[in-house]
Amino acid sequence: MSAVAEMGGVPGQSAASFRREAWLRRLPLLPAFIFVIIITQIPFALTVYYSFFDWNLLQDNSFKFAGLANYARLVTDESLRIAVWNTVLLTISVIAISVVLGLAVAMLLNSEVFGKGFMRTLMIAPFLIMPTAGALIWKDTLLNPLFGLLPYLLAPFGLGRVDWVNQYPMVSVVGVEVWRWTPFMMLIILAGLQSQNPEVLEAARVDGATALQAFRHITLPLVRPFIELGALLGSLFVVQTFDTIFMLTHGGPGEDTTNIPFLLYLVAFQGFSIGQASAIGVVAVIMTTIIATVALRTLFSIFQVEARR
């Protein structure tokens, strides 16, 4: 709460009116502030607290101080290592592929094509579809080796009998997530492209620049902040992927697609190990904080550039 407590008013006022003014200023902030603290900060403190205890909900009186045992178990436990690796692999591949595809589609939609508006409308549909619904449609009607459309279409290429979800689980999860996040990247990058002055490109062309040169030296620097923004925001969401994995692979086969959120779900709601789940929670917070700090800095700098205009 220190951030609120230290807010002041305008200098050069008497102490009483100064304090009154300060309170008036911070009053509208308070309801939202208190609400957020109660539902996020206090539980987080409890998570840290629980992480030092051995506690299984299915066993009576099992609440025992365990010191760093939960963390020690995480270090030696292979599950967490696999989950961290899967989280990193999933996040990096989804963001990298969807940024590249998103940039390509955004450039297509920014060029002189017929029906741009309608194309963009159709293009954002995958992002708006309920993720659980999208994952099930992919799994049962598109990728299913018996009844799915994709094995049927790929049969002439010798891929007709591939059971994508079971044989290539991570590829399937990445594929569905890329399908979902490419439209997100496209929307943001397209907004960047549309802020470009076409005359600059025209001038570059007149000056003899090739298409590649124009792209590298004019278009790319212009949309770079938009790409960074999309990639950072996107990674904050993709790092928490749960619905697609739950529906598509349920973390399997084995632990092949178990990421940190799914591992937490397994430990907390299938194993009911509260202490262990809390320790995973703390590790997840540390990991996300690293990404979020970078992301928010970038966001904030873009924000300030926008505000100054």
């Binding site: 008036l24 549909a125 659980t132 049962d140 009607t141 018996l146 928490q240 529906m247």
Partner: protein, 282 residues
């Protein structure tokens, strides 16, 4: 000029390359849109048609499965989704508007710190507070309670709401508020009579984003609800072990569950971009 140059130069060129890029563009868009289209097609099939090998391409559409879904147990899930989404969106506006107003119009010391604090809570993983919230809900008999889920969604969306609303408020000329204050308008009058009408588009964008995130939310829904308060995504879990028997019904349910957000997003595309980037991209 080569076709490649056309891509980097949208202002001129031969109709031939325009046709080429139009074809390429539509092909790409079609591939991305196809799963959605396929979902719709499957929804209008009968079960045997949906689970046939090879897949049925030509068929006489039927509303059978939609009727099946709507007359079955789906509507309560849909209503729960609507309650949680609309309820949390309303709460975000009620709590977020004064906060955003305080941060934008009457800036205080450390405004940036407060902003940062708010937005950081949006990206605190649910892992951070999940277990204590679950235990609290359990002890208060609030598991499987739509009100508890609404409060959680409010928390998820509030930071985003404050940021977005603030970004819209910053665009209002400061003189307007000064004038109102000189006339003796109270804080509340100022907020309702001047601020709300001026940032109507901002309120629309904020509501849209809140609706999308809470409507599609799955993690808390599946862990905190089971039957009475379960939402539309939880209904779909019932299809997870599908053995080729309920594809058409699944597609019909998926279509209906996705419809509100799809329509809202399509109608408000401009607000969508701004909302998704938390106001950074206009």
């Amino acid at each position: 000029m080569s076709a490649n140059a056309m891509r980097a130069n949208p202002t001129g060129g031969f109709p031939a390359s325009k046709v080429l890029w139009t074809v390429v563009g539509w092909l790409v868009v079609f591939i991305f849109f196809f799963p959605v289209l396929w979902m719709w097609l499957e929804a209008f099939k009968t079960e045997p048609q949906a689970a046939s090998s090879p897949p049925t391409i030509f068929f006489v559409p039927t509303l059978e499965e939609f009727q099946e879904v709507m007359s079955g147990d789906f509507p309560p899930f849909f209503i729960n989704s609507a309650t949680a989404s609309l309820g949390s969106t309303f709460l975000v506006l009620v709590l977020g508007l004064p906060a955003a107003y305080a941060l934008a119009i009457r800036p205080v010391k450390r405004t940036q710190d407060v902003l940062f604090f708010f937005i950081s809570t949006r990206f605190l993983p649910f892992a951070a507070s999940l277990v204590p919230l679950y235990l609290l809900a359990r002890d208060l008999q609030l598991l499987d309670n739509i009100f508890a889920l609404t409060l959680i969604y409010t928390t998820i969306n509030l930071p985003l709401g404050v940021w977005l609303l603030r970004s819209f408020l910053l665009e209002i000329p400061h003189d307007l508020f000064e004038a109102a204050r000189v006339d003796g308008a109270s804080f509340f009058t100022e907020l309702v009579r001047i601020v709300v009408p001026l940032i109507a588009p901002g309120i629309a964008a904020t509501s849209l984003i809140c609706l999308i995130f809470s409507w599609n939310e799955f993690f808390y829904a599946v862990n905190f609800t089971s039957s009475t308060a379960a939402t539309a995504p939880v209904f779909l879990v019932g299809f997870i072990s599908g053995r080729g028997l309920f594809y058409a019904k699944l597609a019909a349910a998926a279509t209906l569950a996705s419809l509100p957000v799809l329509l809202a997003g399509w109608i408000a595309q401009k607000q969508l971009i701004r909302g998704l980037t938390m106001g950074a991209v206009k």
